[in-house]
Symmetry: C2
């Protein structure tokens, strides 16, 4: 019994440390972009040893992918401001650059059916999460609204990093989010 309590406490402690690392990683990825963010800087911001970051997340790539996911918990539900902020963070992560593995996955998704299936699964998961976050607000079309949000983020990411369309390649994170926020809010805050 006391061993189980002890185990839970360790699991809980680990979860909190992971959360602190994820928050620090998000902040740095958004501010500095993927390339210029180091594991060492994330560890320093989270006040942990860099080896712990590697032990918990495996690599900068994998840490990025986890940082770019929406929270797994119920935090999003019924709070349009919170949802919009999470979406802006996700967008910020994508605007600041993507790991080579993610860019490759994106390219392959459009040319290889198996890769498309993987991207579709990840995106469908995002759609459910965002859709759940809008439940009660958006009604029946929550899933379609969520899918449009995912599509908009994909389009902006592809234009900035793969097609390198001039104005989107050169604009700052702030310029882009300032224009895109009202646009996304028409989808997260219906009515």
């Amino acid at each position: 019994m006391s061993e189980q309590v002890h185990a839970l406490t360790r699991a809980e402690r680990r979860r909190r440390t992971e959360d602190r690392i994820l928050v620090a990683a998000r902040d740095l990825f958004v501010r500095l972009g993927y390339e210029r963010t180091t594991i060492r800087a994330i560890a320093a911001a989270a006040e942990v040893d860099p080896s712990l970051v590697m032990q918990y997340f495996g690599s900068k790539d994998r840490l990025f992918r986890q940082a770019a996911s929406l929270p797994q918990d119920k935090d999003l539900t019924g709070d349009p401001e919170g949802l919009t902020e999470h979406l802006m963070t996700m967008l910020g992560l994508k605007l600041g650059g993507l790991p080579q593995a993610s860019l490759t996955a994106l390219r392959s998704a459009l040319t290889h059916p198996e890769a498309a299936e993987r991207v579709r699964q990840v995106q469908a998961h995002h759609v459910s999460q965002i859709g759940a976050g809008m439940a009660g607000m958006a009604g029946e079309d929550a899933e379609l609204r969520a899918a449009l949000i995912v599509a908009i983020m994909l389009g902006v990411t592809i234009e900035r990093h793969l097609i390198e369309l001039g104005p989107l390649r050169d604009a700052s994170y702030d310029e882009i989010t300032e224009l895109l926020r009202p646009c996304l809010e028409t989808l997260t805050r219906p009515g």
Copy 2:
């Protein structure tokens, strides 16, 4: 002199016939989608012989690409309603399906630098046209707003036709435009 007048008149007559064909083509592509629209139906709607459509536009692919372009003239300038309607028509054309050549070009754009350059040029042209259409309304960030509009259309097109994300693959044209119109209006009608 009279020969020149005659030549101008013929050129003008041809331009008007081409316009009529383009209007009919847009209408059918949006209502029926690319696959189900035939040259014969377009010719009937435009009240011309099908051979004239082929003579003027070469192929259904090329007619589609011209129908999906924005008007070359000054019609867009300073009229937010007109601009939004044009954007909705462009979106409708893309939602209804794309010619195989366009899908292939889109796929290649993300994997081959030369193809990316071609897509970038076409999109940069759209950005200037849409940006010019917003001149006086949007001020300095007109180009970035236009680029975001192009990015949103790209994202929705890719999700629907290449990744086939469930809600976007299955939704009707009307469902999608109803949700996307207010979103695009935040970009075409600032302030």
